[in-house]
Amino acid sequence: MAEAGRAAARPLATYALLAWTWIRAAAQYPVSMVLLATATAVVSGLDAAAIGLLFTRAPRIAGFGASEVLFLYGTSALSFAISDILLGGTERLGQHVREGTLDAMLVRPVSPLIQVATEDFSPRRLGKLLPAGTILTLALANADVPWTPGRLALVPMMVLCGALIFAGLWVLGGAVQFVLVESHGATKSLTYGGAYLTQYPMTVFARDFVRGVTFVVPLAFVNWQPALYVLDRPDPLALPGAARFASPAVAAAVCAAAAVAWRAGLRHYRSTGS
């Protein structure tokens, strides 16, 4: 019991321990695990294939060339893959509520968020990192950008902040399911929809739509705003220059909102009874 208490005090160590337990379970079927990781890599690479196909038909899309769009794809896909691996499990909260398995989690001495996130943690999700990482590397090598230390430093920063923004959205989407148990189908448009959206330059989308994903759901700060600085492009919304560097603040705000929503949801939860 004392050991469990210490474990609860160290959330990251607990997370790693639980994830490792699930990985060992999955590793009992090594062939299946490798096949699934490969398949996951291919599925998540399909979006990159689509971008490649688009550029066989036109040299520029909405004013952006292939290597620039692939840079956006790489940063978006890598951020999303990291957040999905770590917190993607929260999208199944509604299922846990419906099946009553959340009740079992509440009596254990570990945060329910960690338990939901690590439940069924599958090493195949790591497959998502492969196309994202490869394409980002290729895009960086081919980018026609005068690299400065500032631009170079902003790239890992955008991946980190993007992952934090997506992480907040995963948890927010999960928290909504405390109240609306069947809303999973709709919260996907925030997470998977956000991942799709940020692969393309915002010049593709209608102006009002871009305002929405800048000021309401701040997906534009995942990679678009910092990318404008890295690629040295003007902002179609003409936001002040500071917006290019606002991603860390936005990420902190999204994560704070997600934490508040999750706690409120957990307090609201009254089990289903029997």
Partner: protein, 262 residues
């Protein structure tokens, strides 16, 4: 009346029971419809008559395919696979109706329910924002026939994959491969008319084209007269081939399955 219409009806009832969940899915389908539409508009801005579509055709294609994701179950999967894993399929095999016919009726019931709940919202929302290309009454009738054939092709593919469970004991690997093929070659990732050269020719000949691309082309009025009959015949041929393969696999599975009493 035979038993199969009842199976269809219960499939329909089961899949319309949770309307809120279906509408939530429809909301996401609609959101993706808008994002895909803007990407296609940007491409057609550069290439206004690409593949014989104009920009309205491309946008219509996008919302129409988003509306058909649910009914044609582009993301794959069938409840039958779980029943094979748990052994409940033994009960299905004891029924005095064929396994394939039973599940086809059930799946068409699911497709109808999904069409009712998830078909409308993406098309409606798309039509409010963009000028879509609508077919006339004759085109709509041809489209209905084409969607039915597409549903048969989709069922044929997923049934064969589900039966793979008898031999592989795990359907996730096969499902993952099917998902890749289905997303890419049905026209879901990009309309097949965008695919260049040989890739386009191959994609147009595969069963996934019969599932989604052909119904969309019929909706857009790209097939008329004998060409329309040819397109429907192409779908019917794939449906017949896949259903025949499913029937053969069902017979083989019957011999393969051993049920221990207890």
């Amino acid at each position: 009346m035979g038993v199969l219409p009842w199976v269809w009806w219960y499939g329909f009832r089961r899949h319309t029971a949770y309307a809120a969940a279906s509408l939530a899915e429809a909301l996401t389908n609609t959101g993706f419809g808008f994002m895909r539409a803007y990407v296609l508009i940007a491409l057609w801005h550069e290439r206004p008559v690409l593949g014989g579509y104009d920009v309205n055709d491309a946008v219509t294609f996008c919302f129409l395919t988003q509306a058909l994701i649910g009914p044609l179950q582009i993301f794959g999967g069938m409840d039958l696979a779980q029943r094979i894993r748990t052994g409940d399929v033994a009960i299905d095999l004891h029924r005095p109706v064929g396994l394939q016919g039973w599940w086809l009726a059930d799946d068409l019931g699911r497709a109808t329910g999904s069409l009712v709940l998830r078909g409308g919202p993406p098309l409606l929302a798309g039509a409010l924002v963009f000028p879509l290309s609508w077919p006339g009454p004759a085109g709509l009738a041809a489209f209905a026939a084409s969607v039915l054939l597409g549903a048969l092709v989709g069922f044929g593919l997923r049934y064969v994959v589900a039966l793979g469970m008898f031999w592989l004991h795990d359907d996730r690997g096969l499902n993952a491969v099917m998902l890749v093929m289905s997303l890419f070659f049905s026209g879901m990732t990009l309309p097949l008319v965008v695919f260049p050269g040989r890739l386009g020719d191959v994609a147009h000949a595969l069963p996934w084209a019969a599932q989604l691309q052909v119904p969309a082309d019929v909706f857009l009025g790209r097939h008329t007269g004998t060409d329309l009959l040819g397109a429907l015949a192409f779908q019917a041929a794939w449906a017949a081939a896949l259903l025949a393969a499913g029937a053969l696999l069902t017979r083989a599975a019957r011999r393969k399955l051993v049920i221990h009493g207890g």
